[in-house]
Assembly symmetry: D2
Homo-oligomer: 362 residues x 4
C-alpha cells in the first residue's frame, strides 16, 4: 500500500514519468507556518547534481493545493503536488527486464498493467514528496528540540568516521544537514567522490552505508508489541528503493559481545538517568530511553548501469543483452541519505503524535 | 500497538506474569482443520529446554476459545489463550532498572503504571502466541508449496555454513524445521552449545545471528510504496525482543560490490525466468521475484545475566549494583529462531491474502 | 471485521455457545482504577431478566487477564474474558433457516463453516463485552463531565415522552442510567411492559425505538470528511444486532421543514455560544457544537418467536415449517438500550482521544 | 479522517475555494479501461443546474495524474484532480457564524486555523471526487451484474412512490440513473420542482428523502461484528454533508410490527432461496441475503438561505443579523441523490474486494 501511519496518515502517489507526483498528509497539526525554504532546500539536496548523478534535471517546483490557508496549515488534508518535467521515456521497454530493477516484479504483481516507464510507481522519484514530508516533520521536531542527522558512513570499501567518535551534539547534526554530501571526516569527501567517478567512468555504479542519529527524543516513545521504534523506522526505511539492511545501535556487531559487554549500564548524570554505553542505539524494548537513537542502513549499488548486462526479453522469452543508455546515477548514497533523514523525521513525529495527540502549540 | 495486519488482523495481549496471554486472529480463512500437533510441536521448540535455557517451565497448554467449531476454523475471530503457570515474580523490582531491559523505557512510556514483573507486556513470553500464529500460517503456506526455514548462522564469533553453500530445497528447510537447534553444519551444534554453556558458567550470556529462507513464493507479492516485503518482514521481526539488525540477500555486504557485480542477471531456466545470482534475496522493488527469499537477523546477547551490574535505583535516584538471581537463558538464539520462522510465515500469508482475498480451498 | 477504532482499537471475539467471549482493548489510558462495580451493574442491566426476557441466565462473571496491575490499567492491551455457562444448543439446526436471523447469511459468508449455535459470532451475546467497554469508557467520560443516557422512546406504537420535553441535565440522564427499564414518563413503563407481555403470550415479539442524549461534550470533536460524529456513531450502532435505523437531531422530520425553520440560530448565553433550537442534534458538519447530542435508533422486533413460521431446509432444499421452542426475548429494546449507551460512550471516548492523545490524568 | 477503506483505501482532499480538490484511490484493480464518459456524465448530474440550483458553475474537468497508463488502470494509486474555477469568496466571513453550517464547529475543531471560505474542507464541493469514485466503482459492479439506483422519495411533505410499488429490475434502476431528477412517479417531478422554486422565491430552502436500491449482490457480503453492510454504508453516507438519518428496509416503521409480521420468511424460487417479504432490506445479521438492498436517507434543507437570520459575530461576541447574498441551492436533494449512488457503489465494491481480493478480470 502507498499509505502509512495511524496518527499522521500519508498517501503517496505518482509515477516516474506521469504528469504529477504528490503526497496527501492527514492530521498534520494546524496553525503551522510551513518553512517553505526548508522544503526547497531539502528537495535541492535530494536532487541529482553535478558529475555524481544522473543528468535528469527536475526543478521539483511543488504546489500546496489543500490544507494551507493564509500561510498556515489548517488541519485538513495537506496536499503537495510536484509536476514531472524532464522525462524521457525512450530508454524504457516493457519487454527487456532490467536486472535488479522492479521491471519483472512489477509486471508480475500487476499482471503487466504497470506503468513501466522509469520504474513507474517504484521509482526513486517518489522520494521527492517524502522529502517534503520530512522537511515539515523536522520543522515540528525542532520545536521540541529533536534533530535527525545522517552521514555517508561508507562508499564501497571506504569508510567515514563514526558517530561514536564524536560527542552527540545538535551542532554536529546541523552541520551534516547543511551539506549536500555529508561526511564526518572531511577528508573522506574526496575519497568517496573519486570512487563514484571512477565507477561512472567504467559505466558502473557503487553503493554504501549511512549512519543516522536522533538527538533530543525523550524516553517513552514507541509501542509494544508490534510498533517498536525499530519496527516503524525499518518499515519506512525499507520502502526507500535500494535499501537492503538496517541495524540499530551496535547492530550485527553486538552479536559478538557477551551480555556483560553489550548491556548498557544505567548511571545518573545531571540528575538524569543515562547509560554509560549506547550499544542499544537509544532503544530498549522498542521504546526510546532518552539516549541518542542511532542506526545504519545499507544501500545497494545503483541497478542502472551502462555496462552490457545479460537479461531476458519476456515477450519473446529469450535471453538477450542489454545496454542501458540513458542517464544514470553512479551512486545514489549521497541522495538517499537525505531521504533517510526525511522519513526518519516523519517516523518520530508519528510516534510522538500517537502519544500526545494532534494538539500543537505553534 | 499490539495489533498488526490489514488482511489477517492480529491482536496480541498479556504479560509475562499475568494470568493468561493470547492472540485474536481476524480473517483467518474458514474451513481449515488446524494441525494442533504442529502447534504443540512449534511451542515445544520455542520453549526453554535443557541446560541451554532458563529453568522456567511453561507447559504452554493452549485453548481455542473462538472461531473454531467442529474441528474447523469458522472465519470468525480465532482466539488462542495460554495460561501462565510457572511465574515467580520475586526477582523483579519496580525500582532497580535492569540494564538493556525495557524496565526504564516501559516506566517512562506508561508513567510508571506498567506491569514490571518479568518484563510485563514486553516479555519474550509474548512470542508463544506468535508461534501459534506461525504454525497455522505455515500450514496454509504448505498448501501452496511455500516453506519457511531458518538456521542459527552464528553464536558469538562462531559461524555456521550459509544457505548459499547449499541448493535451496524444501527438504533442507524441513530438516531444519524438525530440529530444536537448527544448524546447516552438524559439527557446529557442539561448538555453539559449548560457547553457550561456557557463558552460562560465567553467569554471562551470548547472542548470534540467524539466516532464513523462504522457498516457493511466486513472483508478484509485496506492495509499493510502503508495504514492500522487506518493510512488512522487518516491521514484524523487530517486534521480537532482542533483534537489533536485519539484512536481505547480501545485505550490508552488497554495499562493497560494483553494480555490475551486485545486479542479478535474468536468464531462462525450464521456461521460467530466474536470476543467476540472488544478491537481492528474492526481492526487487520490494516485490518477490520467485527466487528464494533470504535474510539474516542479529540477536543481541540476553540482557538478563547473573554477573554484577551497575545500574540505578530510580525511586531513590542513586546508583546501585544489581545481582540478578533468577533463571536466565545464557542464549535465546536457538529459541528465537523458531519465533522468526513463525512471524515470517504470518507475514507471507498476510501478503498473499491481501492480493488473493480470504477465499481458500481446504 | 471484529475490530474497530484508531485511537482505542478494540477486538471483539467469541460465539454465543463457545466457551468464552471477550474483548481486547488497545491504548486504553494507563493508571485508571476501573470501577468494577459499574461494570457489573452495567452487565446486570444488559442481562435478560424477569418475565420480559429469555430465561437464559448468564452470570457474566468477567475476568481481566491483561493490562491491569495492582488495581490500575497499565496501558498495555486490556483484555476481558467472560465464560459462557448457560448454553443450550439443542434448539439450533444448521439446516433450518430461522427467518430474519443471520443463519442463511452467515452460511453464505463463511461457506457453511460458521458456528451456527445461537447465532454464533452474530449473537447479541457479543454485546456483553461491549457493555464492559462502555462502562469503562463512561468512567473516563465522567471525569470530563460528559454523560450519555438513553430512554425507551417507543415500544411498538406506544410512545414515551421525548428529551425535547425536558431540560437536558446530568441528573436526568443519571436517573435514566440507574434504571433497568429507562423511560422519561414513568406511566409508560407499565404500558410498555404490557405490550411486551402480551406479545410474549402470543409467542410473538415487539420492537421499539430509543432516544439517546450526550451532555457535556465540548465543541470541536469529530472529523471531516469520513469520520463525522454521525459516521462513527452509526457505524458502531449498526453493529448491534437488530438495529435498522438511526436519525440525529430532528432526523427524518427535519426534511419536512423549511431551511428557515430547520436552521439552529446562534445566540450568546452566559458568554457561551449556543443555539436556540437543536434540530441538528448537537452536530454541524459532522463536528460537535457543544449542544447536547441527540439521536434515535430503531430496533426491530426480536426475530426469535415461538409462532410457527415458514422457512426452508437448506440441506434438502425444501420448504418447511419451523417452531422455535427455546427461550426467547419478547422484546430486547430494554436490553439494547444499555448497549446503545455503552457503544456511544466508547465512540465519544475514541473521538476525544484521537484529538487529545492517550495521556490522561487520573 | 479524510481516509476510508481497508481494501480500496481512499483519501479525499481539498477545500471549496482552494486551487484543486481530488482523491487518491489505493488498490483499485488493475487493467481496467475507465469509462470516462460515465465519469463525466456522473459529474454532470451532481453539478448545480437550472433554476433549482446555485449559479456557481464548475466545469469539473478532472485530470488523472497517476495509476492510469495507456488507457488502463495500473494498480498503483489512482489519483484524480479537479481544479476549482468559479470561486467567489467574498460572501464568507470568518466571524459571522452561518447557522447550521460548519463555521463554528470547524473553528472549534481547528483552533480557528480552518479555511472558512465556502465551508472549506467541509464543503459539498468535496462530493465531486466522490462522484468520480462512484462512477468507476459502478463500472466494476456492472461487470458482476450489480447495479445501484436511487430516487427522490420526498421533497418537504410531498412523496414519490416507493420501490416497494414496483418490481425490482435492472431496467428500473437504469432509467433512474439516466435522469438528472430521478423520480419513480413522473408526475411528481413537477410537484417537487414547484416546491423547490417556491422556496427559492422566498429566499428559503427545502430538504427531502431519497430511497436507494441495490440489485444483484449475492448473499454473503458484509462482516460481523463491526463491519456490517449497514455500518459501512451509514458510515460513508453520513459523511455526505446534510444527511441526518438512515434506515434500512422498513427502517423505523418495522418497530411498529410484531415479529411475526416483520420476519422475512424464506421460500424457494427457481431453486434459489429468497424471502417473501423484504422488511430487512436485503440484510440479515449485517450480511447480504441476496434480496435487493434498500435504504432511505434524510437530507436536511440547505443551510444557506437568503432570509435574514439571527446569529453571532464570534470575534466581537455579540449577536448579529445575517443576510447571505451569494448563490444558494434552494434544495440539494436532486444533487445529493447522485452522491448517494456514488458512495454506495464504492461501499459495495469495498466489501466485495475485502472478500475476493483485488484480482479482477477485465
Amino acid at each position: 500500500m502507498s499509505t502509512f501511519g495511524k496518527a499522521i496518515e500519508i498517501n503517496l502517489f505518482g509515477e516516474s514519468h506521469g504528469s504529477t507526483i504528490g503526497i496527501v498528509i492527514n492530521n498534520f497539526p494546524q496553525g503551522i507556518a510551513l518553512d517553505l525554504d526548508l522544503i526547497r532546500d531539502s528537495l535541492l539536496k535530494r536532487r541529482p547534481k553535478s558529475a555524481l548523478s544522473t543528468s535528469r534535471q527536475e526543478q521539483d517546483n511543488f504546489e500546496i493545493v489543500s490544507g494551507y490557508f493564509n500561510g498556515l496549515t489548517t488541519g485538513a488534508p495537506l496536499t503537495f503536488l510536484i509536476p514531472n518535467k524532464d522525462t524521457n521515456s525512450s530508454d524504457y521497454s516493457p519487454n527487456i527486464l532490467r536486472p535488479s530493477h522492479a521491471d519483472y516484479t512489477a509486471r508480475e504483481k500487476y499482471n503487466n498493467f504497470q506503468d513501466y516507464r522509469g520504474g513507474g510507481h517504484f521509482s526513486g522519484r517518489l522520494t521527492a514528496p517524502i522529502v517534503i514530508l520530512g522537511a515539515i516533520s523536522a520543522q515540528l521536531l525542532a520545536k521540541k528540540g529533536i534533530i535527525v542527522g545522517s552521514h555517508i558512513a561508507s562508499i564501497k570499501d571506504a569508510k567515514d568516521k563514526e558517530f561514536s567518535d564524536f560527542e552527540p551534539t545538535i551542532e554536529l547534526l546541523e552541520t551534516l544537514n547543511s551539506s549536500q554530501f555529508p561526511v564526518l571526516d572531511d577528508l573522506k569527501s574526496k575519497v568517496f567522490e573519486d570512487i563514484i567517478l571512477s565507477a561512472k567512468n567504467d559505466k558502473d555504479s557503487v553503493g554504501g552505508t549511512t549512519e543516522t542519529m536522533i538527538i533530543g527524543l525523550s524516553p517513552g516513545y514507541g509501542e509494544p508489541f508490534f510498533d517498536s521504534i525499530e519496527s516503524i523506522l525499518s518499515h519506512l526505511l525499507f520502502s526507500i528503493p535500494s535499501i537492503k539492511g538496517i541495524e540499530f545501535g551496535k547492530g550485527f556487531d553486538i552479536t559478538k559481545l557477551y551480555g556483560s559487554e553489550a548491556n548498557d549500564s544505567f548511571y545518573i548524570q545531571n540528575d538524569k538517568i543515562e547509560t554509560k554505553t549506547n550499544n542499544s542505539g537509544g532503544i530498549q524494548g522498542g521504546i526510546s530511553n532518552g539516549m541518542p537513537i542511532t542506526f545504519k542502513v545499507a544501500i545497494k549499488p545503483t541497478a542502472s548501469i551502462g555496462k552490457t548486462q545479460n537479461t531476458v526479453d519476456i515477450t519473446e522469452m529469450k535471453e538477450v543483452q542489454l545496454n542501458l543508455k540513458g542517464r544514470h546515477d553512479p551512486s545514489i548514497v549521497h541522495r538517499v541519505v537525505h531521504v533517510i533523514n526525511a522519513i526518519t523525521s516523519y517516523a518520530i513525529l508519528e510516534l510522538i503524535i500517537r502519544k500526545e495527540g494532534i494538539l500543537w502549540t505553534n
